[in-house]
């Protein structure tokens, strides 16, 4: 006989996870058959989906390096997933061993994995929370321990916001986070842009991602730009992923829209 489940949630391996699918496309093995099955579906829709993921990851790396170069030593990475390769703390601590990073993810497995991987690294911490709970994030002991919110922070919301449709009101959550940041802080965002590829590829990605439980929604350039609020855009502004401060001119592409995502960094005045 069925009995009601009183716990708020279950760990469900029948459902793919955004974080583990991402890990798969970055060449990691932190994934299960269900994640790989979904990855296969994404590949049938767009054979270059791995490059999109990698371009996102590369943007994250370049954004962090840029922020480090601007003197940022503390980062808040929301929707951090499973840090397989090129984690924020690795990138940041390579430049400054004292750099501090707080990762935030709501996925229980991603959270557990991050905790295990970061065990022993005192300058990093993981918070299990949703972007929609900015006060839980900001009020967490991890943030209190590692981040000095009176000094500029590097706020990273990379490849996350397009997994929340407007019904979840990500705009308010991001605004709350922006407001909590001191002057001089940076915000990096990458976001799938609507109608950027023929055949409604972006929209069909969104539909596939619904298996993960995330209500995906691509947004327009202006809608994405609005997430920055009054943060001043850093050159070159909100552009397709490969065009944001490439490591070398050769890294750019003649048709950057293949990346289907816009990326940008803004700084709080």
């Amino acid at each position: 006989m069925d009995r009601p489940a009183w716990a708020t949630e279950d760990i469900d391996l029948d459902r793919p996870s955004i974080a583990r699918v991402y890990d798969f496309f970055l060449g990691g093995s932190h994934n299960f058959a269900v994640d790989r099955a979904m990855a296969e579906q994404l590949l049938t829709l767009a054979p270059d989906v791995a490059e999109i993921m990698r371009a996102n990851r590369a943007f994250l790396r370049r954004a962090v390096r840029f922020m480090v170069s601007e003197g940022i030593t503390q980062f808040l990475d929301i929707g951090s997933g499973i840090p397989t390769v090129g984690n924020v703390h690795e990138v940041a601590q390579a430049a400054d061993p004292d750099a501090r990073v707080v990762y935030v993810d709501i996925d229980p497995v991603a959270y557990a994995h991050s905790r295990a991987m970061l065990d022993g690294n005192d300058n990093t911490a993981v918070v299990r929370a949703d972007l929609r709970e900015p006060d839980v994030i900001l009020g967490s002991p991890e943030v209190a321990r590692l981040l000095d919110l009176t000094k500029p922070v590097g706020l990273l919301i990379v490849s996350v916001l397009h997994f929340m449709d407007d019904s979840l009101d990500p705009r308010s959550a991001v605004a709350r986070l922006r407001d909590a940041m001191p002057s001089g802080s940076f915000l990096a965002i990458s976001h799938a842009v609507a109608q950027s590829r023929p055949g409604d590829v972006v929209e069909r990605f969104g539909k596939m991602y619904q298996q993960t439980g995330a209500p995906a929604q691509a947004r327009t350039h202006d809608e994405i730009a609005a997430f920055f609020g009054d943060f001043a855009p850093v050159e070159p502004g909100l552009v397709f992923l490969p065009l944001w401060r490439p490591d070398s001119p050769a890294d750019t592409d003649a048709r950057p829209e293949w990346s289907v995502s816009l990326a940008g960094v803004g700084q709080k005045p």
């Binding site: 006989m1 069925d2 009995r3 009601p4 489940a5 009183w6 716990a7 708020t8 949630e9 279950d10 760990i11 391996l13 583990r20 496309f25 970055l26 060449g27 990691g28 093995s29 932190h30 994934n31 299960f32 590949l43 054979p47 270059d48 791995a50 490059e51 993921m53 990698r54 990851r57 590369a58 790396r61 499973i82 397989t84 390769v85 090129g86 984690n87 690795e90 990138v91 229980p108 497995v109 991603a110 959270y111 557990a112 994995h113 905790r115 295990a116 991987m117 490591d247 070398s248 050769a250 890294d251 592409d253 003649a254």
Partner: protein, 737 residues
């Protein structure tokens, strides 16, 4: 331009692409480890995701190229060094198979040429193959270990997360269990189809059954009697929440009341998944409310429904004005109950009331009606949807019959009787207030009609009473408002038809009823006591008028006869009052005649004869009005200071025609003879015909009064009559009626 190959391999990386063309890489080293590293970097770019910029990748590959150079150029090929390069690639996240493929390719093509050009071709081929083999073997082993390691990590993470979740669930479940089992409210959890999945001890206790027995049964069991539609609607989600109070029977125990709430629980997708039934035993509250309700609506002494409840019943009946229903009431009041209270004490009185109430209740229950105690010794029986008055009188007969049985109260054998007022009407034709008033009035009639009986409401009787009441209420102000006036009826000497006097008769000019004769208000005035001031006014007015006639119209020989009511005659100040009026008006006492009824004259008041004597001594004439209708003590009459008798109209009636009733005629003759024997004059009233006048004259009657001579008229008419005769004898014209 670099095209990153898709997984499908549709676009493989071309080593000889423009990326390494001379126009771009003009300054790239042409040979040596650096040149090899440069080509290698181009070959594996994008094959694996690494967190490095292109220059960083090149810098890594330069180091690895130097190690490859060292490996291939040793005396023996250094397999260990080659293997270490394979491991280092994987460590640097160049772990994809495509990276290995490109690496082997670029090694095969140009490692020997770039770093060991001196080797003969055969030797170079051999050594390159050994390097490739060692590198590939170690790369593959490292990548495999990396995969295993990562799989282990993610599995551990999953297990940990699940453990955390399960622990959270256990804690949550434990908390829930504690709440569920220890809750003071009864809870049952059911599936959407109604099967009870869980039930807490409180619910089991409330239902008086072990929880194990209830699990698996249908929740409708808890809602027995409730509409199945309610459940269906609820499990469909309309509404989400239902609350009601319900009475439950419990096997082998007292019934109880529960406050039940049913809530639909939905899952995250919004699909109805459970129904939670919560119940609270509110029996105590309910019993208290019931008791309070009972106390508020019942009489504490007899436990019969009280006035409040009775009015509630009536309210309910009168709310439905649409039907043709009728309603009947028996207002019942014990006769002489006060005597019981006064003689046997209130304690016995209360016990008697209780016994009466029980008898009435039993009787009324058998008839299927309702009884209430309105207060004191007053009860009411309500007959709903009555058929007719006959039904009510039958009920009243039963009630009276029931009460006729003597009751044993505290050792006393008490007989009680009751009076019952009955009213029965169509609901639509009346109002609650009208019905109650009618019942009340009728009960009063039953009392005045003689007790121990029922009386049915009579609209005519009521109308008369109402009119009388209206008159009596106007009467008290009428005198002050000068609504009374006097008319005068001539008194004629029969022997010669001379006008010898007038009788003053009071009239009331009623503001709404118009002119009223004395018979419609004198008895009222007597009842209310107003007769005393009214009589005084009449006396003074008549005396003043008589004096005016005397002075202005030569009415010296005409007396005025004024009625004196018994209460006036008996009032102690009457003699002084008459004297004062005569004095003030200047009327000679001889010209005033006072008419009293037999009963007023013969009355028990001892001072009356004294008063009459004094009046008589003053010179005032005394007449006995309506003589022959009362029980005069003729012997006593002889000693009274009476001057004349006025024969009652009924005696004169018999002389109306020429063929008079001989008995009546003989009676009148006898009365006249008797009066004359006593030295009294005789006046006949109601003389309406010539025959009457003739017979009365023949029989020796002295004075006549009646329509035959004149109706009562205004004083002006009398004045004109007097003026016309100018002091001579007035002879009123005889006329036939």
């Amino acid at each position: 331009m670099v095209r990153i190959p898709g997984r499908s391999g549709a676009k493989t990386l071309n080593f000889d692409s423009t990326r390494v063309g001379p126009e771009i890489d003009a300054f790239a080293p042409r040979s040596g480890a650096a040149a090899f590293a440069h080509a290698w970097a181009a070959a594996i770019a994008g094959s694996s995701y690494v967190s490095m910029s292109t220059p960083e990748i090149e810098s890594l590959l330069v180091k690895l190229s130097e190690r490859l150079a060292h490996a291939i150029r040793g005396i023996e090929v250094d397999r260990g060094e080659a293997a270490e390069v394979g491991a280092e690639l994987v460590r640097s996240d160049f772990a994809d198979g495509r990276t290995l493929g490109q690496t082997l390719l670029v090694i095969g093509r140009r490692l020997a040429a770039d770093v060991a050009p001196e080797l003969p071709v055969e030797e170079a081929f051999e050594r390159v193959s050994i390097v490739q083999g060692a590198l590939a073997a170690e790369f593959t082993r490292s990548a495999w270990l990396r995969t295993l390691d990562q799989q282990e990590q993610i599995r551990a993470a999953y297990l940990h997360a699940r453990e955390q979740a399960q622990e959270a669930m256990r804690v949550s479940e434990g908390r829930f269990r504690a709440v569920f089992n220890g809750a003071g409210i009864a809870i049952a959890i059911a599936s959407v189809n109604g099967t009870i999945l869980e039930i807490n001890p409180m619910m089991g206790e409330m239902l008086g059954a072990p929880t194990e027995m209830l699990v698996g049964t249908n929740v409708m069991h808890l809602l027995d009697g409730e509409d199945a539609d309610l459940w269906n609607a609820l499990s469909a989600g309309i509404p989400e929440h239902v609350r009601f109070e319900k009475r439950y029977e419990r096997p082998g125990a007292a019934p109880f009341w529960a406050d039940i709430t049913i809530e639909l629980i939905r899952d995250q997708a919004g699909t109805p998944s459970y129904v939670v039934v919560m119940g609270r035993d509110i029996t105590q509250r309910h019993l208290l409310a019931q008791r309070l309700q009972h106390e508020a609506t019942h009489d504490p002494l007899t436990n019969l429904p009280n006035r409040t409840l009775f009015f509630d019943w009536l309210d309910t009946i009168f709310q439905d004005q649409s039907s043709d229903n009728r309603v009947g009431l028996c207002f019942l009041d014990l006769d002489g109950f006060k005597v019981v209270n006064d003689t046997l004490g209130h304690d016995i009185g209360d016990k008697l009331l209780t016994a009466v109430a029980a008898s009435l209740q039993e009787c009324v229950d058998r008839l299927g009606h309702r009884v209430a105690r309105l207060g004191g010794d007053e009860f009411v029986v309500l007959v709903r949807d009555s058929g007719s008055v006959d039904q009510l009188t039958a009920v009243a007969d039963r009630l009276l019959a029931t009460l006729r049985h003597p009751l044993m109260v505290a050792g006393h054998r008490l007989s009680v009787s009751a009076s019952i007022g009955i009213v029965e009407r169509p609901v639509r034709a009346t109002t609650m207030a009208e019905l109650l008033r009618a019942a009340d009035v009728t009960l009063y009639w039953a009392k005045t009609d003689g007790r121990g009986r029922w009386t049915v409401f009579d609209p005519d009787r009521n109308a008369r009473q109402v009119a009388r009441y209206a008159l009596s209420s106007g009467l008290s102000d009428a005198l002050a408002r000068r609504e009374f006036f006097l008319e005068y009826q001539p008194l004629v000497r029969l022997s010669d038809s001379a006008l010898i006097g007038v009788e003053a008769l009071a009239r009331w000019r009623h503001p709404s009823h118009g002119r009223l004769a004395p018979d419609s208000f004198i008895s009222l005035a007597e009842e209310t006591g107003l007769i005393v001031p009214l009589g005084a006014w009449v006396l003074r007015e008549a005396c003043e008028q008589a004096r005016r006639w005397q002075v202005e119209n030569s009415g010296d020989a005409m007396y005025v006869s004024v009625n004196l009511a018994a209460r006036q005659a008996h009032s102690p100040g009457i003699v002084d009052e008459v004297a004062r009026i005569l004095d003030e008006t200047g009327l000679k006492p001889e010209l005033l005649q006072l008419e009293l009824t037999e009963s007023a004259v013969m009355g028990t008041a001892e001072q009356t004869p004294v008063a009459l004597r004094r009046l008589s001594d003053m010179g005032v004439r005394i007449a006995i009005d309506d003589f022959g209708t009362g029980y005069s003590n003729l012997a006593y009459l002889r000693h009274l200071p009476v001057h004349s008798l006025k024969l009652a109209g009924s005696f004169v009636e018999g002389l109306r025609t020429d063929h008079a009733d001989p008995v009546d005629e003989q009676l009148v003759a006898t009365l006249i003879t008797m009066a004359h024997t006593l030295g009294l004059g005789v006046t006949a009233e109601n003389v309406e015909t010539a025959a009457q006048a003739d017979r009365l004259r023949d029989l020796g009657c002295d004075v006549g009064q009646g329509y035959y001579y004149a109706r009562p008229v205004a004083p002006g008419r009398i004045a004109r009559l007097l003026d016309a005769t100018a002091g001579g004898t007035l002879r009123l014209p005889s006329r036939r009626s």
